[in-house]
């Protein structure tokens, strides 16, 4: 447990009432409970309102390009597995432009947590349809209603091999911070889908709407994968830890002998002379 103020950084520029404030609070609380060392933590984000979160959370941070946070995070974690790497971003990043990376980071079971702030709309670009918008949802790019079914992000992650899948609600930062804490602690890939309302552009999926359309998981065994699939197929959003299982991480498989640490100085690798035999 460290003082939560340690993680303060710039003042957020999010709209008043934005769901992402709840996520930031929850993240700080989780970090504080876990005693995360900001010098050994990297918050990797994509592009969008939610991806600005590392401007507001004190640690190493890299704000990358749209959709690619998970790929950049993979490079970081594999370069220095001792770092606590957390990915954060929006539903566009995770479930549209960057979907490929979600699938593959999940199946690799890389030991990172991915927090998706899902508001079912594109906020920063001012109100276009999102991959998680419901069918029929009217926006400036879907004036006749969306023709597409929403992507079920947590279900996709679970099907791809994620070993931790959870959903939180930014209207309940206390539960959310517990979920995020568990996700960070989890050894393996953890997806946390957060229902995080956009108060400016999404007048349908509001705090009240989410309250009505979600429920708390009770007496659920998160190691039951079949049940986890069922829960994720529910019409309503289940809140809590839906799936959790310990499996070997990608790093554990990759680094069988030792890890070359980037923190140490390097020299010309003279051992390449041993490879010369291949070329004779």
């Amino acid at each position: 447990m460290v003082n939560i103020n340690l993680y303060d950084r710039d003042t957020p520029t999010w709209c008043p009432g934005c769901g992402d404030y709840g996520v930031l609070t929850a993240l700080k609380r989780a970090a504080s409970n876990l005693g995360l060392d900001p010098t050994k933590t990297v918050l990797v984000t994509g592009i969008g309102c939610s991806s600005k979160i590392n401007s507001y959370f004190y640690s190493y941070g890299i704000h990358t390009i749209h959709g690619r946070a998970a790929a950049v995070a993979t490079g970081i974690k594999l370069s220095n597995p001792e770092l606590e790497v957390i990915i954060a971003g929006g539903d566009g990043d995770a479930y549209a432009i960057g979907t490929e990376h979600l699938v593959h980071i999940a199946r690799r079971n890389l030991d990172v947590a991915y927090i998706v702030m899902n508001n079912q709309i594109y906020g920063l670009t001012k109100g276009q349809v999102s991959p998680t918008s419901d069918e029929g949802f009217i926006t400036i790019t879907t004036p006749y209603g969306s023709y597409e079914k929403p992507v079920n992000g947590p279900l996709l992650a679970l099907a791809s091999g994620a070993t931790f899948v959870a959903r939180g609600f930014s209207g309940d930062p206390l539960q959310l911070s517990n979920i995020i804490e568990e996700a960070i602690k989890h050894k393996g890939f953890a997806l946390v889908d957060v229902l995080s309302p956009c108060v400016t552009w999404n007048k349908i999926n509001t705090y009240d709407w989410y309250k009505e359309n979600s429920y708390q998981l009770k007496d659920h065994d998160p190691t039951d994968k079949k049940k986890a699939f069922e829960i994720l197929l529910d019409e309503k959003f289940a809140l809590g830890i839906i799936y959790k299982k310990e499996e070997k991480t990608f790093e554990e498989k990759v680094f069988r002998k030792f890890v070359h640490s980037p923190l140490k100085p390097i020299d010309v690798d003279l051992s390449i002379e041993k490879i010369y035999d291949e070329f004779r």
């Binding site: 990297v42 990358t64 790929a71 490079g75 594999l78 370069s79 980037p262 390097i266 010309v268 390449i272």
Partner: protein, 571 residues
């Protein structure tokens, strides 16, 4: 009499083993002290289709298979129809007539028909071993040293079973045996020069992989693509034992972003690809420019656009390598001309990228990437790791480390996550000295100027052109075309100044200086639009250029360059 210079083409259907035969032959040449150049020509499919592999060994330093071949070893009919005219008068064709007997219409060469596959099946029960048998035939005809050849075969198969080695040696002997009585190639003489112990035989992609390892590169991410995959394959084998990571990414885009992530975390990192993948990497390379992270990218060019000719060579990514992507950005683009340079450029690419905190693009082409050449063992003692302003132990600079501090030379101090007193942000958005997003116009101007300032600074440390010869007529080129150009120059009756450009961006001032007394310059390149010619004109103001261009996917031959220059000059 042709002395110490022999070019052999081995042709057949994919799966016939032409590449394996060529591999042994090129290793033999290295062992007897020859230089080697090779050229692969095969279709983009796994089995079937005509494949051929040209191997030339010579006492003089060569980088090209030359114009003609001395021997054609053909396992299929296509080899005859496609390559029979390529044989030098006085040369030889060896045709395996097991599948089909055909008429060969050349009276000025020796014609040998021998049912190699049938013999192999009958004598050893393995048809594929006809390749090694064919080596026995060639060895006998050209008086190869059979002891050295057998050592070569043994060594090539040293990781295979005893049985396979025995079978191949036996096949070789049978080949020699069956050739007794055939007309010998008395008009050729190949001496044993030796001096082999300080040389290596490797292709450009392997040299790039070795250079990366030597430089301490410990991360590669790539998506399989011809002709760059060899580097991923090579490093997948050798990085784990060095505590590094080789990862086959889910896409080209993933690969570049993983490499950028690794570089940010402090590892020397690279991504390798070819044209189609390079297109997809453009945004990621832009990110590296903006956050000023060192990353090395190999673009082994192939014929484009789109999928183009996946297994054929071209030099048509020049514009993309230099200009690709939106916005003004600092980067380095270098083009090695041969396998030896591929190693040193790869090594230095990592130094340059860290010193200037920019992405470095190594622009090779399929010919360098795949061409096997004999090189002197690399001089590792001459190499030095230079990491520029990387701070692994920074002093306390406050709550946040000024990652983008405004220094006189434009290069800020850099630190990496995991380091105390190093916390900062990095972002592809415009940012202040701590990496925090800002749209302030004054800051924007300062940051832009800081990044652009590096371009002028890096010029001093980049690779100047290699100039050979003097004269008022010049040839300008980049990359693999140097081989045929050098041989064309030897045949031309007048002096020529050859300027080989090795740094494409930023373009160096030496090219202009070298053109001072030149009246006409031939720009040799493998593309249609003349991308190098445009680049030279733009940067030097020199106008009197003549393009010699090729875009059929096959590499230049000296004769094409020689004829064009004779024609224009009236020589």
């Amino acid at each position: 009499m042709k002395i110490n210079d022999l070019a052999v083409r081995i042709g057949g259907q994919a799966g016939d083993g032409s590449l394996a035969t060529g591999e042994i032959l090129s290793r033999y040449f290295r062992r007897i002290g020859f230089y080697v150049a090779t050229d692969k020509d095969f279709p983009s499919r796994i089995r079937g289709g005509h494949t051929s592999y040209a191997i030339r060994g010579a006492q003089k330093k060569i980088y090209s298979i030359g114009d003609r071949i001395d021997a054609l070893l053909s396992f299929d009919e296509d080899s005859i129809s496609l390559h029979i005219d390529e044989i030098e008068p006085g040369g030889v064709v060896i045709y395996d007539n097991s599948r089909k007997d055909i008429e060969i219409n050349r009276e000025d060469i020796k014609k040998i028909k021998i049912p190699l596959a049938n013999i192999a099946r009958k004598e050893l029960g393995i048809e594929l071993i006809k390749n090694t048998m064919a080596l026995g035939v060639i060895s006998h005809l050209f008086h190869f040293d059979e002891v050295i050849m057998k050592e070569t075969i043994k060594d090539t198969y040293k990781n295979k079973s005893e049985k396979i080695i025995e079978e191949n040696l036996r096949a070789f002997d049978i080949g020699v045996e069956k050739s007794k009585g055939l007309p010998l190639m008395e008009n050729y003489s190949l001496q044993i020069l030796r001096g082999e112990d300080d040389t290596l035989l490797l292709m450009g992609n392997e040299a790039i992989g070795l250079g990366a390892l030597a430089a301490g590169c410990r991360f590669i991410a790539a998506y399989p693509i011809t002709p760059a995959s060899d580097v991923l394959e090579f490093l997948s084998k050798h990085l784990p034992e060095r505590g590094g990571v080789a990862i086959q990414a889910e896409s080209e885009i993933a690969a570049i972003n993983m490499a950028v992530g690794a570089a940010y975390a402090g590892l020397r990192a690279m991504a390798v690809t070819s044209g189609p993948g390079f297109d997809l990497k453009t945004e990621g390379i832009g990110l590296a420019s903006m956050i000023e992270q060192p990353v090395v990218i190999l673009d082994a060019q192939r014929a484009g656009p789109s999928t183009g000719l996946p297994t054929k060579t071209e030099q048509s990514d020049i514009n993309h390598a230099i200009y690709g992507g939106h916005g003004d950005k600092a980067r380095i683009v270098i083009a090695p001309g041969n396998v030896e340079e591929a190693f040193y450029f790869s090594f230095q690419a990592f130094n340059l990228s860290e010193k200037f905190q920019v992405p470095v693009i190594i622009l090779s082409d399929e010919l360098i990437s795949w061409n096997k050449q004999v090189v002197k063992k690399f001089d590792l003692k001459s190499l030095k790791i230079e990491r520029g302003k990387l701070e692994l132990n920074p002093s306390d600079k406050g709550k946040e480390f000024p990652r983008y501090s405004l220094e006189d030379d434009g290069i800020s101090y850099r630190t990496i996550p995991g380091i105390e007193k190093g916390i900062h942000l990095e972002t592809g958005d415009e940012h202040d000295i701590y990496g925090h997003i800002t749209e302030n116009p004054v800051n924007r101007v300062k940051m832009m100027e800081k990044r652009m300032k590096k371009i002028e600074l890096m010029k001093k440390e980049l690779f100047p052109s290699i100039v050979e010869g003097e004269g008022e007529v010049a040839i300008i080129s980049m990359g693999s075309t140097m081989g045929p150009i050098i041989e064309a120059m030897e045949r031309l009756p007048k002096n020529i100044k050859f300027i080989r450009v090795r740094t494409l961006f930023p373009f160096l001032d030496d090219v202009k200086e070298n053109l001072k007394d030149v009246k006409i310059a031939f720009v040799v390149e493998q593309n249609y639009l003349g991308q190098l010619e445009d680049l030279v004109k733009l940067n030097t103001g020199f106008r009197n250029t003549v393009g010699i261009r090729k875009y059929d996917g096959r590499s230049f031959r000296p004769g094409i360059i020689e004829r064009k220059i004779r024609e224009v000059m009236g020589w």
